[in-house]
């Protein structure tokens, strides 16, 4: 038995490492390279022309890019927080229900069954100012006698997008937090009851600390995943009108595929990756802290 013995943990991780390198790492290196070229899809020969950091300089000095960057951070922050709070509330409510919980849990996950493309069209029509569901309802019920331009007004348009995004993704938080609630040991809860703690105290000092790792997992997963909102935003407003809802992703998508300027798009993409890295590492640190507190670190 003289064969090379790899550590067990490495063998266990190997499949993940191989598949992620193949699908993510190699393409990523390709696109990193192309961000230093004037690469234009319709003219493949441009891939071999090195222009240094021109694309990065162009992105960094572009006011529209930074406006979109800021708007993306804003959207991420608001959407993630709202989803987390609503998800927590929903999970706690559903957890209290004793009868028909299985059905409720499935219903709770209903929005997750909707493909982002569909969600985009769905909310585009729901928020249509002339024949949309929301304005029709408001007018029928007599709350409003004007057509509210949901997708045009600067604040309302952001609201509509965030609403669509929150609608699809709150379930993710709710289901993860619910799973966390199931995993909470009964004893401390019962001990708290015996000691005469109020429900709020029990929640604050026992339930919440146990839930924190789950909340951070959900936050981190969502912050990585939130770029999926691209499909929704692209269909609902495509960054418009007049750049009022322009996000990094709509900007990159348009530059890369419609304008065919892939080099420039990739440069913007790389700048935006830092955003994702920041959010992920932040939540990861929080997760570890929460775990250490519960003695599950390692």
């Amino acid at each position: 038995m003289s064969r090379l013995k790899l550590p067990q943990w490495f063998v266990l991780l190997l499949p993940a490492i191989i598949i992620l390198s193949a699908v993510v790492l190699i393409p990523l290196l390709l696109s990193l390279y192309s961000s230093f070229t004037p690469y234009r899809l319709t003219r493949p020969e441009t891939l071999y022309k090195w222009i240094g950091t021109f694309n990065y300089e162009k992105a960094i000095t572009n006011a529209n890019f930074w406006a979109a960057f800021g708007r993306t951070v804003l959207l991420l922050t608001i959407a993630l927080n709202v989803e987390m709070l609503l998800g927590l509330g929903l999970a706690l409510l559903v957890n209290r229900v004793t009868w028909g919980q299985r059905g409720l849990r499935t219903l709770m996950m209903f929005p997750m069954m909707f493909s982002p493309v569909l969600v985009g069209f769905q909310f585009k029509f729901i928020f249509n100012d002339n024949v949309g569901l929301v304005n029709n309802a408001l007018q029928s019920l007599g709350f409003s006698d004007v057509a509210i331009p949901w997708l045009v007004d600067a604040n309302l348009a952001m609201f509509s997008i965030i609403f669509a995004e929150v609608w699809t993704s709150t379930s993710v938080f709710a289901i993860l937090i619910l799973a966390g609630l199931f995993a909470i040991p009964r004893d401390p809860l019962e001990a708290a009851k015996v000691d005469g703690c109020t429900p709020w105290q029990t929640f604050r000092h026992i339930t919440l600390p146990y839930l924190m790792p789950f909340i951070y997992i959900a936050l981190a997963i969502r912050s990585l995943d939130v770029a999926r909102a691209y499909d929704i935003v692209q269909i609902m407003t495509n960054g418009g009108p007049a750049r009022r809802t322009e996000l990094i992703w709509t900007m990159i998508g348009r530059t890369g595929y419609v304008d065919a300027k892939m080099g420039y798009a990739n440069a913007m993409g790389y700048i935006s990756i830092f955003l994702a890295i920041f959010f992920t590492i932040y939540f990861f640190k929080k997760l570890n802290a929460a775990r250490t507190e519960l003695g599950m670190g390692g």
Binding site: T42, P44, V131, A147, I148, V152, G240, A260, K261
Partner: protein, 437 residues
């Protein structure tokens, strides 16, 4: 089977010239397999059933390796160019997109006789060329916009007298864009009813602006492709959109509308005047799809102050790649899919043909259906004023630079002058960066 096709072809053209263009002799392309990327979607599919006939005639096989809608297909073509995966032969094309990939498709002229090409509507052939190269053959999917309106509004006597009193001329479907504006404002009863609406984002708003600039006697680009729209004509054109928005004669969400929203809007019966594409004609008059059914009138699109009618147009077609190994076979397939029988088949479902003889045929066929013939007469007239999108590889890129500025002016974030100034500068910079001049 083969015989019947030949008979039909012969009947259609009455001459041997076609056979030089369409070398349909049995087994001519035996064993050849052509890969094709075709536009998918319900109204485009019926034609593809005819491919089997061509296969039977020539012995060749067609393998459809991609079916997507046009925007996805555009993305795929660009990706193919980038990846060098150009082993396929026949692709769906569109006159507004074609100029983006000048190196992708081959010139079809050598594979066709001049007589065969002459059977297409000349303006469609002109719009199918990049320079002198005929890069696509037009299918019966021609798009130009005409004016749809609600007839009952114009028949109403109260409307007629009130309008006359207010504007000093008789109420009739508009022939100029100024009348159109008056009437749109007159009919509006927000939020329940609006005079009109327009596409407000992406290439769509720029296309509408482009045709309006032309109708006002201006140009979008100079001959060297530098921007020319920051002119008096450009300002008049943009003001038309701004004025309607300010007057509240369009739904306030119009800057977020694309074609689908416009179609749904007019079909809901809450829009008086709607400049729109021929593809909606059946939908607008269908009992189970539209509240406006039975009340839809169609006339030729109005003219601008320069006496020119708007007419931004486009058409679908089929192209053969430069890298194709069997260009003659591919050209034969493309010619077959756009020949007279194919166009008759396709246009029987509603789309507009691009062959002169087929135009006559469909007009004659529809004589028993008053609505259908009204539609066809209007669009036939509309087609005579049609002009294609600017034929530069950077058209789409330019629209992406221009549309946010147009929106800013419409919504009042910027004045018309500021918006056009910024847009012109951005286009200028973009053209220079691309080395156009």
């Amino acid at each position: 089977m083969r015989l019947s096709v030949q008979m039909a072809l012969k009947g259609a053209t009455a001459g041997a010239a076609l056979f030089a263009a369409l070398p349909v002799s049995a087994g001519e392309f035996d064993g050849i397999t052509l890969q094709a990327k075709l536009i998918g979607g319900q109204q485009y599919e019926a034609l593809y059933a005819r491919i089997a006939e061509w296969e039977a005639d020539t012995g060749a096989t067609v393998e459809v390796i991609s079916k997507k809608n046009h925007f996805e297909l555009d993305k795929e073509f660009k990706s193919d160019l980038a990846a060098g995966t150009l082993g396929w032969c026949v692709g769906s094309n569109h006159s507004s997109f074609a100029s983006q990939y000048p190196s992708l498709y081959t010139d079809l002229t050598p594979y066709l006789t001049p007589e065969f090409i002459a059977e297409y509507v000349p303006s469609n052939v002109a719009a199918s060329k990049i320079g002198d190269a005929l890069v696509m053959l037009p299918r019966a999917q021609f798009d130009v916009s005409a004016l749809y309106y609600l007839k009952s509004l114009y028949e109403d006597e109260g409307n007629q007298s009130a309008f006359k009193a207010e504007y000093g001329y008789d109420l009739a479907p508009p022939d100029t864009w100024d009348q159109y504006k008056d009437q749109a404002i007159f009919f509006t009863d927000a939020p329940n009813f609006y005079g009109t609406q327009y596409a407000g984002k992406d290439e769509a708003i720029v296309g509408r602006f482009y045709e309006m600039v032309i109708a006002e006697g201006g140009q979008l680009f100079n001959d060297d492709w530098s921007p020319a729209f920051n002119s008096d004509a450009g300002k008049r054109a943009l003001s038309w959109f701004v004025d309607l928005y300010k007057a509240g004669a369009v739904p306030p969400g119009t800057t977020s509308y694309l074609w689908d929203d416009l179609g749904q809007g007019f079909a809901s019966g809450t829009i008086a005047l709607n400049l729109d594409w021929p593809g909606w004609a059946g939908f607008f008059n269908g009992e189970d799809s539209s509240k406006a059914a039975g009340d839809v009138g169609v006339i030729v699109q109005p003219q601008g102050s320069a006496g020119i009618r708007t007419g931004w147009s486009g058409h679908h077609g089929f192209s053969v790649t430069e890298s194709c190994d069997h260009k003659d076979a591919a050209a034969s397939l493309v010619a077959f899919l756009t020949n007279e029988d194919s166009q008759k088949l396709e246009s029987s479902a509603g789309p507009l043909p691009t062959r002169t003889a087929v135009w006559d045929h469909v007009v004659e066929q529809s004589s028993s259906d008053p609505y259908r013939s009204e539609v066809l007469v209007a669009f036939q007239q509309a087609a005579t004023h049609a002009f294609p999108a600017p034929q530069t590889p950077y058209w789409i890129e330019a629209t992406n630079v221009i549309f946010p500025e147009l929106q800013a002016a419409i919504l009042g974030d910027k004045t018309v002058d500021e918006a056009l100034e910024t847009a012109a500068e951005a286009v200028d910079e973009m053209m220079q960066e691309n080395g156009v001049y």
